[in-house]
Amino acid sequence: MTLIPLFMVIPLGSAFIVVLLGRFKETVSDVLATAATLMLAILPFALIIPLSQEGIFVYRMGRWIPPWGINLVLDGLSLLMLIIINLVAFLAILYSVSYMKKFTAKSTYYGLFLLMLAGMNGVVLSGDFFNLFVFLEIAAIASYALVAFGVEAEELEASFKYMVMGSVASVLILFSIGLIYSLTGSLNMAHVGTILQGQKGNLISFSMILFLAGFGLKAAIMPFHAWLPDAHPSAPAPISAMLSGVLIKALGVYAILRIFFNVFGMNIQLSWILMILGALSMVGGGLLALKQNDFKRLLAYSSISQIGLIMLGVGCGNYWGILGALFHLFNHASFKALLFLNSGAVEYSTGTRELKKMGGLSKAMPFTGATSAIGSLSISGIPPLNGFWSKLFIIMGLIYAGRYVLGVITILVSVLTLAYYLKVQRYAFFGKLGEGLEKVKEAPPLMCASMVALAIICIGAGIFFYPIMKIILEPAVRVLQEGVGYSSLVLGG
C-alpha cells in the first residue's frame, strides 16, 4: 500500500515549507498548514475499506523484507489511532488560525505543530522498536517547544519540568530497546515477538518494567503524572487540546498496547498491574480535579483520570473491556479537545482562566457555552452522548471479568466526573454575568466552527455508536485479541 508513507511525508515536508514561506506572508502559512492537515484528516478514511478487505498492510522501505529492513505496519489499531490523531489535528489547526494571532511567529508554531503530528503518525505506523523511539522523540521535542511557546515564566517552568520527565522516559525506553536487542538480536517488533514467545527470564521482565515506566511517564499514568497538570495548561489552547487529546495516547497508551499485547503477550500479572495503575490514576486524578479552580488545570487532572479509565478497560483484557477502552480513547480525544478549545475561547474573550472570576458566559458566548455543555455531559457519561457508551462497555468488561469492586469504583468515579464538570458549568457558564465581563463577545467564527465540529462528533458518535463500533473499533479490538499472532501476520504478509 503506497499511501502509508504519506502520513509522515506530508507533515514533515509541509513543516519546513510552512516555516520558509511564512517569513514572507503569514496567510500563506495559514492556508498551507490547513490544507496539509485537511489532506491528512481525509486520508485515513480512504484506507478503511481497503484495510477491511486485506486485514493488514505492511509497507517495506526500499523493498527490504521485514526482519532485515524497516517496515511500516497499518492494521486496525493503527488506523483507529490515525483517524483520531489527524481529525483532532485538523480541527486544532483550524482553531489556531484565529487563536494564535496574539502570538508572534505563527509560522514557527505551525512548523512545530506539523513536526509533532509527523512524530505521532510515525509512532503509530512504525513496525520496529528503534523507529518508534525516533518518531517518539520527534513528537516529544516538538511538544516541549510548544509548551514553552508563550515564553512566560510559568510556561518555561512547566516546559522544563515536562522536558526533564520526558527525557528520563526516553532514556528508559532506549535502555529497554537496547536490552531487547541484546536478548533477541532483532529490532523488528514482529520478529522480536516470535523469538520471545514462551520465553521467560529476569532480563525480559526487567525490560518490560522499563517499557512500562517509560511509556507510563509519557502517558501520565498516576505515579508518573506529575508533569501533566503543569505542562498541559501552560501550552496555547489548541496545543493543550492536542497534548491531552492525542499525544499522551499516541505516545503512551498506544505504545503500551502494541508492545505488551502484540510483542510480549499479555499475562495475568501484567493485566493486574495495568488495572491497578489505571484505577489509581482514575480515582486520584478525579479527586485532584475536584479542588481545582483553574479551568485548564481542572481539565488536565481530568485527563489523568480518563487515561486511568482507559488503562483499566485495557487491563481487564476481554472483548468488552478492550472495546470500551478503545472507544473511550476515541471519545476522550473528541470531548477533551473540545473542552480545551472551549477554555481557550473563554481565555481569548475574557482574558482569565480562574473559574471564580467568570460567570454567565453562556449568554455572552452562546456557541462556547452550548458546546462546552455537550462536552461536559458526554465526558460525565450522560446517555445518549458518546461517553456513556464507552463507560458502559468498560463497566461491562469489568463485570464479565469478575472485577465487581473495580466496576463499582468506575461508576463512582463517573459520578465524581459529573460533579467537577457541573462545577465548571456552574461557575463559568451559568448564573449572573461576572464583574467586568459585560463587554465579552463570542470567539471568532473559525474557532466556533472547530468547536461545533467537535461537538457534532461527540453527539454523532453517541447516536451512531453501532456503525463506528463495527467499522472502526472491531478491527482494532481484533488486533489486540490476536496478541502475539501479530508477528505471523506481519512477517507472513
Partner: protein, 111 residues
C-alpha cells in the same frame, strides 16, 4: 563488567536528576543517563578481537563487530544533541525570568 559500569553510570545520572537543585546539574544528569545508555548499546555490539564490518579481499574468516548498535548510537546521539540544545536554551530563558538556577525558588505553579 562493562554492563555493570554502564548501570552505575546510569544510576549516577538518575541520582543527579532526582537530588540536585541546580537546573544545569539536572541537565548534566540527563546527559549522563543518555551517554550511559549509548555506552550500553555499543557494548552490546562489541566482540573482543573483531574488526570493523567492512568486507575487503582476504578478510573472509575474520569475525566482525555488530554494526547495527553503532548505527543506533549515532542516531541516539543526534537526538540527544537536539534535546540538549533545546533544554539549555530553556534554562537560559528560565534564568532570564527568575534570575536564579535554583529549582526550589522556581515554583510559581502549584496545585
Amino acid at each position: 563488567m562493562m554492563f555493570f559500569l554502564c548501570f552505575v553510570l546510569f544510576l549516577i545520572g538518575l541520582y543527579c536528576v532526582l537530588i540536585k537543585k541546580n537546573l544545569l546539574k539536572i541537565v548534566m544528569g540527563i546527559v549522563i543517563m543518555e551517554y550511559s545508555v549509548n555506552l550500553f548499546l555499543i557494548t552490546v555490539g562489541y566482540k573482543a578481537g573483531a574488526v570493523a564490518p567492512i568486507v575487503t579481499e582476504g578478510a573472509g574468516k575474520v569475525s566482525f563487530v555488530d554494526p547495527l548498535p553503532q548505527a543506533l548510537v549515532i542516531t541516539a546521539i543526534v537526538i540527544g544533541i537536539a534535546t540538549l540544545a533545546l533544554i539549555v536554551a530553556l534554562c537560559m530563558r528560565v534564568y532570564d525570568r527568575y534570575k536564579t538556577f535554583d529549582i526550589t525558588k522556581i515554583r510559581r505553579l502549584r496545585g
